[in-house]
């Protein structure tokens, strides 16, 4: 029995912690005055309130100043790509829900479109419209989560509750459409799993009317709050060229002023028949590309998504909701790389097929994986209080970082 004061590990099995803690222990910041302070190595460990999941950031700090922030990932690695090579095309759809578990519809959409492009299948018109409606609603839900958790990171508890109140309504709509609230597997190869129940369109319209004024409420509560602005403006500034060089995508890239949105750049779905505009960070509260811009781009995107859903609901044609797809899908040998615009960035699938019903190689390019890679460069020379601000504005989901 473990006595009091005994270290709590299973006897005889001490898992070696790969990180050796004495790097930089002796290295002391040389200063001209005789005031020498010592660096400290902190593990903003896998369990931390503001790392949004199992991410460990190794901080080398000197007092409150951060000298180096190296993210250690891999805690949520489930070898989805290895499974992808042993599972048929249809069976892999539920795995795509678990990549970015806050926007499962968009993940399914990316995988389904990639496979359709590989196998040369064309989804019917109604299915494309349903896909757009569902993907954009999921984008609003995912941005609501970002709004809530970002407020929480900054110390304000109330936005989280209001953000999740609206998200509940979207989850009710999804539950009515496909029975699940988080991992839907609703968008499949060739179209959508089931047709929308009757009355769903009216309820979705009702939700949009209720949701539209709420965004002004969010802005009053958090966006234009002076303390929030002081905490996020001019913090973690990412210039546009560094954003492109590091392969950032989604609101993180647009926050730096780069006008790049896959829905406009490569409009495959019915996005070209719906008009909406790309929201870009203009440095309203400080330099272009700071944390406030990245946050506010997402608020603007929610407005645009609501506008898209409203138009799509109006133009929703009738017809069948799914193309005829053989149960044992054998796409011709070849390879395809296809990306769609997820709430957190561009989720890409590189699929190599050798004619058998099982893909030869399946690679998923997670947007958060690339967005996270810039953390070290941005977090240098900032304060400990800025780390939640920067991490929250990059809005990382560990599911798609570790895959």
């Amino acid at each position: 029995m473990r006595e009091h004061g005994q270290p709590i590990t299973t006897p005889g099995l001490v898992i070696p912690d790969p990180v050796n803690y004495d790097i930089g222990r002796e290295k002391v910041v040389e200063t001209d005055s005789d005031l020498r302070t010592e660096e400290m190595l902190i593990n903003m460990g896998p369990q931390h309130p503001s790392t949004h999941g199992v991410l460990r950031v190794m901080l080398r700090t000197d007092g409150e100043l951060i000298l180096e922030a190296t993210p250690h990932i891999g805690y949520l690695h489930r070898c989805a790509e290895k499974i992808g090579e042993n599972v048929q095309y249809h069976q892999f759809v539920p795995y795509t829900d678990r990549f970015d578990y806050l926007a499962a519809m968009n993940n399914n959409l990316a995988y389904a479109m990639a496979v359709e492009k590989l196998a040369g299948i064309e989804a019917p018109k109604r299915a494309q419209y349903i896909r757009v409606i569902v993907a954009e609603l999921n984008r609003i839900a995912s941005h609501l989560v970002m709004f809530g958790t970002y407020g929480l990171d900054m110390g304000a508890f109330t936005p989280f509750i209001y953000g999740f109140r609206e998200r509940e309504l979207i989850l009710d709509l999804f539950e009515a459409a496909c029975g699940a609230r988080l991992t839907y597997s609703y968008v499949t190869i060739g179209g959508v799993r089931e047709d929308l129940p009757e009355g769903w369109v009216r309820k979705a319209g009702e939700f949009l009317d209720y949701f539209q004024p709420k965004i002004k409420e969010y802005n009053d509560l958090l966006s234009y709050n002076q303390i929030f602005i002081k905490r996020t403006a001019n913090v973690g500034v990412i210039p546009a060229d560094r954003a492109i060089a590091y392969g950032l995508s989604g609101p993180v890239l647009r926050g730096s002023g780069v006008k790049w949105d896959l829905r406009k750049a490569t409009p495959d779905l019915v996005y070209d028949q719906l008009e909406f505009d790309i929201c870009v960070g203009e440095g309203r509260m400080g330099q272009v590309g700071d944390s406030w811009d990245r946050y506010f781009v997402r608020i603007l995107e929610m407005v645009q998504s609501a506008r898209i859903v409203r138009q799509a609901l109006a133009k929703l044609p009738s017809g069948d909701y799914r193309a005829k797809v053989p149960r044992l899908l054998k796409p011709p040998p070849g390879e395809v790389y296809y990306e769609t615009e997820n709430p957190r960035g561009q989720l890409g699938f590189y699929i190599v097929s050798d004619g058998s019903p099982v893909p030869y190689r399946l690679k998923a390019r997670g947007p958060s994986f690339c967005n996270l890679s810039i953390l070290n460069e941005v977090a240098k020379d900032c304060l400990l209080g800025d780390i939640p601000a920067i991490l929250g504005s990059i809005d990382v989901v560990m599911g798609e970082v570790d895959r």
């Binding site: 931390h48 110390g155 508890f157 509560l221 209080g385």
Partner: protein, 417 residues
Amino acid sequence: MIAHIDYIPFFSWPEWLEGLIVMIAVYLPFVCLVAMFGIWWERKVSADIQSRHGPMRTGRWHGWAQSPADGLKLLAKEDLIPVAADRPLFRLAPYLSFVPAFAALVVLPFSARFIFVDMPISVVFLFGILALEVLGVILAGWASNSKWALYGAMREACQIVSYEIPLGLSILVPALAAGTLSLAAIGEQQGGGLHQWLAFRNPFLFVSCFVFFIATLADCKRSPFDLPESESELVAGYHVEYSGMRWVMFFFAEYAVMYILSAVACMLYLGAWYDPFGIVLWMEKAGYVWSSAVIGAGIIIVKAFTLVYVQMWLRWTLPRLRIDQVLSTCVKVLLPLACVNLIGAALWSWLVPAGWAQLAVQVLLTVIGTGGFLFFVGVLVRAMLSRRQGLRLTLLTPWHAIPVAEPPPGPEPASNG
């Protein structure tokens, strides 16, 4: 009975014992009650702001027994001490943080008669005792030997260096206006009616009231200044390694200091235990000594809890400042403001004759003060009313439930959500 216990020297053993009994019988339960009520009320206020219910189950009516239940649970919890912690200091820290909060009650008058010790310099004593409370926090951060706690302690040390001077200066301003350093004497000057309140005596005092309130926010580590225990950056700040009763000590200390500083704010600025219409003063003069004392105590407690409500209101709406912003606000904004108030109040009481000019200024400031107060009360009432017809949580009635075949004509009604 406890009216005017004489000064410490020259009193005999039984008198000292009597003081001890009063301290244990009256003040200790009072602090526990204040802390427990404060915790329960904070959960209710935060729930109200976030349009939810807060604790409803324990103890039937609105979960009033939630705090005692938490207390019992925490009593049963194991008091962990980290292996590499500095044991004696780890154990000492919570008491070092709770005792000053409790000792400050000695000089805090509840009404003209209910004062434990009427010290002539109670204001300075109070300020000295509350400066000790920080040591408990810093030791807790240091002794638990965890990097997060160390950061919490260092932030607390930075914070105290920045907010203590404005706090001290804005305590001196009303003392200077009232002419004495004793809280009871300051309180007695604010008797007759709303315009007598010290906050409305001159514009410098009016501004100094807000400076004092902001400094108390920083002192009891609340709302925008709650950096030493900021959850999102430092996990839980200085009390990250504490659990069970030790953690409760910190919690009690925080709520006790919150109440005490609000009571001091009411004492110094907002007409201590007198009501805005001068009734209590009239009762005191007309000889109803005991009843006026009890009513006065009630009034001061209600006023203090309104200020505590404002602190909670700020906590649940405002995000948290960063450490360098806290320092710059306290040093670059509050400090000069406090100095200007001090000098201004001194010049004011020297230059302005006590005649009608003073009265005119007092009435003007009263109008401004009550106008602002009523505006905020209006905001609160409008928020209360507008919440009633809020949207039902699920926009969608379960219309997609599959229509059940005709239910058997049993007694239970057809139930579909």
